[in-house]
Subunit: 341 residues, 4 copies
């Protein structure tokens, strides 16, 4: 008989998991659009949850916006080629999401025509135009949220810490240096967590944004998932920023267009699950469990289980691998669009 899935209130930061809670996988939720696809031959399964209005936002418990999900079991593995494919796919989706937001910055078809006319000429500038990325000269700040000393929370710090930043090159070699080379003005910061800094990440970033004036912000964060299957195998991209209570470290204040004053995109990968999620997963996987669940069982759990988050023992290695995928993907999306178009 049908299980009352919606009695579970297991925490998840993934829109796609939140969506799965509703009865009947194909079922409609007013104000929420779901789309799923897989490029032919690709190792990566894509889904897009769009929360279209306030009704959808209430139903999903998440703000209006686009939530893209890449799923690939290969992220947990060791295969170099598969990792490169995932990085490429991630780069492509990140690129699309960023450009969707700021399509005024995109190369228009007309511009493209103009570029083609240039192809006869041999000037350096003209050739550079052929390699336009859509982000040249754009001021972009990447934020690595989380605690660098708590491994499953270190995804943001490790990714942001390995980016090839460029913003300072304009300072060193003259204004325009990056733009002429089709580079964005990329900067990156690891703000630390409140227990280390005594400050909200939102405060630190508001100060840095005011001072260095990025045009868009990309936040990298480790997430909590409901399903153990998703640990380190799913990437979520969203244009809604980071909201209070999300992330492994449970941010107290949001990082959004409202709080920072510029568009904020978020890239997250689940690295922990709640112990209660494991119970949920288990029960869901049992055919023999032909009983009606008692509603509210979770409230009766011992507190140590209710608040227990867990992570796989090989998390060090996983975080290293995933941060490399994210780092490579961001580089491709912003620097080398030809590799991911």
């Amino acid at each position: 008989m049908a299980r009352k899935e919606n009695n579970f209130e297991v925490r998840t930061d993934l829109a796609v998991e939140q969506r799965e809670r509703f009865p009947g996988d194909g079922g409609e939720i007013a104000g929420v659009a779901l789309r799923e696809w897989r490029e032919s031959g690709s190792a990566v399964k894509m889904s897009e949850v769009q929360i279209l209005d306030e009704h959808g936002a209430r139903a999903m418990g998440k703000p209006k916006g686009v939530y893209l999900t890449l799923e690939a079991d290969g992220m947990a593995g060791n295969d170099e080629e598969e990792m490169e494919e995932i990085a490429r796919e991630f780069a492509m989706q990140l690129r699309r999401l960023l450009l969707r937001e700021q399509n005024e910055a995109q190369i228009t078809p007309k511009e493209l025509d103009g570029l083609k006319e240039f192809q006869g000429s041999k000037s350096e500038k003209a050739k550079n135009k052929e390699n336009r990325t859509g982000f040249e000269g754009k001021r972009i700040l990447v934020v690595g949220l989380g605690n660098a000393f708590v491994t499953p929370d270190a995804l943001g710090p490790r990714t942001a810490g390995n980016l090839k930043v460029t913003r300072h090159l304009d300072g060193q070699f003259g204004k325009g240096f990056c733009q002429e080379r089709n580079l964005p003005l990329l900067s990156a910061i690891v703000p630390g967590v409140m227990a280390q800094t005594g400050m909200e990440s939102a405060e630190i970033l508001r100060g840095i944004v005011r001072e260095t004036k990025p045009e868009l912000v990309i936040v990298i964060d480790a997430l909590a998932a409901r399903s153990v299957r998703r640990l380190g195998t799913t990437i979520q991209l969203t244009d809604t920023g980071i909201h209070p209570g999300s992330g492994v470290g449970n941010h107290r204040h949001g990082l959004t267009r409202e709080s920072l004053g510029v568009p904020v995109f978020a890239v997250g990968v689940p690295t922990v699950v709640g112990a209660t999620s494991i119970v949920h997963d288990t029960i869901s996987s049992l055919e023999a469990w032909e009983i009606e669940e008692k509603p509210g069982w979770e409230e009766k759990l011992e507190p140590e289980l209710r608040n227990l988050y867990v992570t796989p023992p090989d998390i060090d290695e996983r975080i290293q691998r995933i941060s490399r995928i994210l780092c490579d993907g961001i580089h491709q999306a912003l620097f080398e669009p030809e590799t991911c178009l």
Copy 2:
């Protein structure tokens, strides 16, 4: 109604958890003796499981021998004083277990009398005798099992890596140097894991034992527990060594008196639990779950859950704290018996 606990086959390396599986906590198992106590005012709860004969060994799935368990929630906390108390209690228990084995090395009552007579004299040697530890001049090898790069498996390497070894002092300052100072000849090794070395830990240690001839071996290892409550809050000491299939890294061969040719003691702390254990814990904690379990539900679990081991997100910090407790405790047991008698 009664739950059929013994249908569960959740893996545990702890004798005390294995013992709990049997119906009726106070119930008797032939060939197994259980004793529990707490020193008055102490934060540490002690238990001793003794497996007395082959019948007990079969029932418990563990070899004959003594299994001492220290339980202290303070191990998960941050209180300096409580940590020192736990280290002291651990030192005392380790000391007793080692001396029980080799009581020929113990100071006999007669010797003690002799020592007291010496108290009048002022010679350095005589005073040293007053500070006899029972391990002076004894060759002791501590082995830190596990993978230093997988945090929950790094307990052994971190503990062994921080010990104050002394064996080389005899080589540097002359034979007898340690004994005259009431020091053991302490050596320590971190053999690595098979995937790093291509060798069994047992092979590496057999070679080192043959070459350096320790009189006793103490192995430190991270364990798997059944109960999440025990993660990082329990220390098990045993005189049976390490057996195949135990430990986070699942050792393929044992490290025992039989395989190494000298007495082998093991000190372990659980740092991972199986996902299935969490399900078990949860169900056990539910009063409302008044149903008879379906036997064999575990066999029906999806393989990814059945083999999933998990660890707390703050495992880095916990391992650091526990390795300090073990390190301090070993030092006290071997060097400063006055602090733990």
Copy 3:
């Protein structure tokens, strides 16, 4: 015969070393005051260089202000008690320097009298007043400059990363929480280096200072010394902040009262020396070298030597020890004045 010391232009961040360059140790430099002392029985040698006016600033190549130096060979050693003594002495000097700046915040003799009168009363508030630190409720930001991944440059990040911050407690438990407990509102940040962030530390800090409004800033940084003897054995405190070209990482922009808008204190420890300094040290130590140096030899050095900075092989361990001294000292200075008065 006299050696022309002032031909050497070996870089140093230490005012006390710059002072030593002038012929005749007791010699006077207009606009520079030097004072040296040692508390009786103390392991720490103190000196204070005061640059009083523009003439002194030009002669010294450093801005006007106070430069306090603690020297203690024990910083390189392993003696726990000596380390505690150094931390205490450092705390006392830091405290004095901070309070000198803001003597309006100091407890006046009159206030002290008032406090004594209170001693009869038993109110909590009154007792708290007895424990006044001079920093209660004060907003203080500690900045850990340098690259956390280049060991000799990691002193700032490691020190700032281990501080017990308090500023967020007011946010969590209500405004006034810290002040009532005689705590400062302490925050800390590790801004990273420009090659990692694409931003000047000065930009990042200006943003954070504007947003979080500290009343004073303390910057921790690793320095370059001229003498190998000073590597890890000297602490410099100054009220002049950080100036361009200083520090292991050679900051491009200063962190000063002018650039940040609040008083900036700097705490530095030398962790590298230039290769040319080693040559200088060597030659200075040779009695047999009774020759007149050829002026300008340094310009003839091969570039790889001229720009080579070096550090001791055991730098990891040294940085760990020194960051602990600094961290303990800052805690004592700001939280526990009774331990360092």
Copy 4:
């Protein structure tokens, strides 16, 4: 005028530097043969010092044997392609040195002819023979000497720790598994240093060699050089093993064919120089220093300088890069001869 180079007794572990001490670079030393070359277009400069007899051994202060040196400034840089070229060249030289020793294991020209005849046949075994490496089924132990926690001494541990070992596969999948796949039986160990283990590396390795019976041992170690130019830019390979007093950690006992009972090869990279070496380098680079040196100046140096070894501040990054080159090179030499023949 001529400088009396041979008065300097600056320590070096590099045979090629020891050779340079003798007056007249082209000059002959009885019992020592020198050969230098560079493959056309290669970034790597090669030299081979052969110590032929006892006279040469005395003159050089090093045992009889072959000392190959690769020099490439690219090792200090960041260029991926150059790093790959250096790894390839290192692999080729290592391969030659190992096969020279055990030419009975080499593929003879006759065998090669035989292999070509097989080319018509399609059997798996025959095809495997075409890919023979000369090391198939050979038992090889790689030893990473040094202290993993002292960065410039960590080269051995990091290299050995990242090797793809295979020896255990025969245990897991059946004897002959490796040989049939043209794989060596590769094992690796990081024995630690005496201050951590209380045992000599020689003792630990003698035990492991006796127990696991490798046919040859390759030891990786960090070295001391005389010239700062060589820090991290030179690889030395030798068939003489490791001798007392060499290496950053100054091994007390040798690791040689005599002490271990099997051929011992050593691969070393200089990561520290003595402070006195820097003085030497400087003076050598000064044209203006037209004076006769006073013999024996080093004896007059202050002890803190005489025993001071130094390392570059970015040593962490350098060690990471070099260990990757060594690791890749060893893999190519033993697993993929086609990439380095």
